[in-house]
């Protein structure tokens, strides 16, 4: 089980959290101008790296706030934590 550092509550078990997929995937600014292929890319395609991956989690059973983790998918080490909307890492 992952031990996840919530930037507000500190280290908590993974079971308290919900997973939210890749972070920083913005809604297209002008969706009506997208080609079908571009829309498909936005809807269905995400990074799937072997290595650092930036992803969203929500502390469902705690403060219920969203945040961003950088996690290495080859070993699950958590490399950085950010409060959503900020770029400075938080070390609770």
């Amino acid at each position: 089980m992952l031990l996840i550092p919530c930037p507000w509550c500190g280290d908590r078990d993974e079971t308290e959290f919900g997973y939210g997929g890749q972070a920083h995937v913005p809604y297209p600014e002008a969706p009506e101008t997208l080609t079908d292929a571009e829309w498909a890319e936005y809807l269905f395609v995400r990074d799937n790296p072997e290595g650092p991956f930036t992803e969203q989690w929500v502390h469902t059973a705690g403060c219920r706030r969203w945040f961003t983790l950088v996690r290495d998918t080859t070993c699950n080490d958590i490399l950085a934590v950010h409060r959503t909307g900020t770029t400075n890492p938080v070390h609770p």
Partner: protein, 405 residues
């Protein structure tokens, strides 16, 4: 200690060095890669083929699955593909001259809620219309078919009935791989282990070979069959795929007397259970939520699937978990596979099988070999191309495939 070791059995395949060039290079010597090579040779006469494997033959998800074989999917496209696989499973032991213990003991998909009942009955009707054997069982019939299931009405999630596919069952996964490998090898296919693909040779927009840890290999066509590592490979030609790689865990008990006559799956409490020929109970459940290449999942997934198993089978209370393990599965947005051509000329993909690839092994090989050999998808995999994510013609098996994804 003085006993002499027995003679080592004959090898089932050669262990050749890679040649400089092949008509087709298949990347990944799991079940799908081996079946593809076998059918390239058998159905299309293409034998100048190498199957490259970075680890050892059938050491990935082929070694890690729970060996369930069934074709009772809801949507016609899926049922047709998996039913083709099931028909091939029925003839392969004889064709491959290898008894891999294919046992058509029947698969039950339990219903615990009114919605489960409606979904199950609908799926039975859909399957029958599509020529797939399917029956609806009442609670009493479930008890008769699998006496160890807890069908009492005071269970937390009472069994309200089940779908039954009588022709479904299990097979011995390692032996399936070895049987396919032996025949492919006999056709002249080179099975090359310990050979990792590190890049692709390009000529303009075309792929013309692969870079490997054992040197460059030219290829007329390169066909990926690398499951959870497909994204990583495709990224090396700049191809982005709608795939996420997740851990999927399974576990076994100690060897027990035969107690479990069939395969039981339950969406609602989410576990699937069979008993292997040797005697261990084999159980699996769902993927971990986060993507990972660790081949290791979180313990609460195991805990939940054990709770579900005990709810359904109270007599498992004295059994022990002997071993748990994980694999890396390639999950697509609609829980259906991607088999076909790519925007990169001469590069093909077979991926996105997620948690259900084992049962499809022969059909995946059959249609993938057809696509490689003819340059066009087989009618059975035509709906499963990459382009469906652009056209919107998804085959949404989330919750429809008789298992919760």
């Amino acid at each position: 200690m003085s006993h002499e070791l027995p003679e080592h059995p004959d090898w089932l395949w050669r262990n050749p060095d890679p040649k400089p060039s092949y008509d087709v290079v298949v990347v990944g010597a799991g079940g799908h890669g081996l079946a593809t090579a076998y059918y390239l040779a058998k159905n299309h006469g293409i034998t100048n083929v190498a199957v490259l494997e970075r680890g050892w033959l059938a050491g990935g998800n082929m070694a890690r699955n729970t060996t369930i074989i069934r074709s009772n999917y809801l949507w016609d496209e899926s049922a047709a593909l998996y039913e083709h696989a099931l028909k091939l499973w029925e003839v392969l032991p004889e064709e491959l001259e290898y008894d891999f213990l294919f046992s058509q003991r029947g698969v039950l998909n339990l219903a615990h809620t009114l919605q489960d009942v409606r979904e199950g009955v609908r799926r039975v009707h859909a399957n029958r219309l599509g020529g797939v054997d399917a029956e609806w069982l009442s609670t009493e019939d479930v008890k008769k078919f699998c006496p160890i299931v807890n069908t009492s009405s005071d269970a937390r999630y009472p069994v309200l009935g089940a779908t039954l596919q009588p022709r479904a069952g299990i097979a011995k996964h390692d032996h399936v791989a070895w049987a396919l490998a032996r025949k492919a090898d006999a056709y002249g296919v080179d099975l090359i282990q310990g050979c990792e693909v590190t890049g692709f040779l390009r000529d303009g927009d075309r792929v013309v070979g692969v870079e490997t840890t054992r040197g460059r290999i030219n290829a007329g066509k390169v066909a990926l069959a690398a499951a959870g590592h497909t994204s990583t490979l495709a990224a090396r030609v700049g191809l982005r795929l709608p795939i996420q790689s997740h851990p999927l865990q399974a576990l076994v008990s100690e060897l027990l007397e035969p107690v479990h006559p069939c395969v039981v799956m339950s969406n609602h409490v989410h576990v699937y259970v069979s008993q292997a020929h040797k005697g261990e109970l084999v159980m699996g459940a769902g993927i971990d939520a986060y993507p990972s290449y660790t081949r290791r999942g979180s313990v609460q997934i195991i805990e939940a699937q054990m709770a579900a198993a005990l709810e359904l089978f109270p007599l498992f209370g004295r059994a022990h978990v002997i071993r748990t393990w994980g694999g890396v599965v390639d999950v697509s947005p609609d829980a259906s596979p991607v088999v076909g051509l790519t925007p990169v000329e001469n590069l093909l993909v077979n991926c996105g099988w997620g948690t259900g690839g084992f049962k499809a092994t022969p059909a995946a090989g059959w249609v993938y070999a057809h696509t490689i050999a003819t340059g066009q998808p087989h009618p059975l995999n035509a709906p499963f191309g990459l382009e469906r994510f652009t056209t919107g013609a998804l085959i949404d098996e989330h919750g429809a495939a008789a298992v919760a994804h």
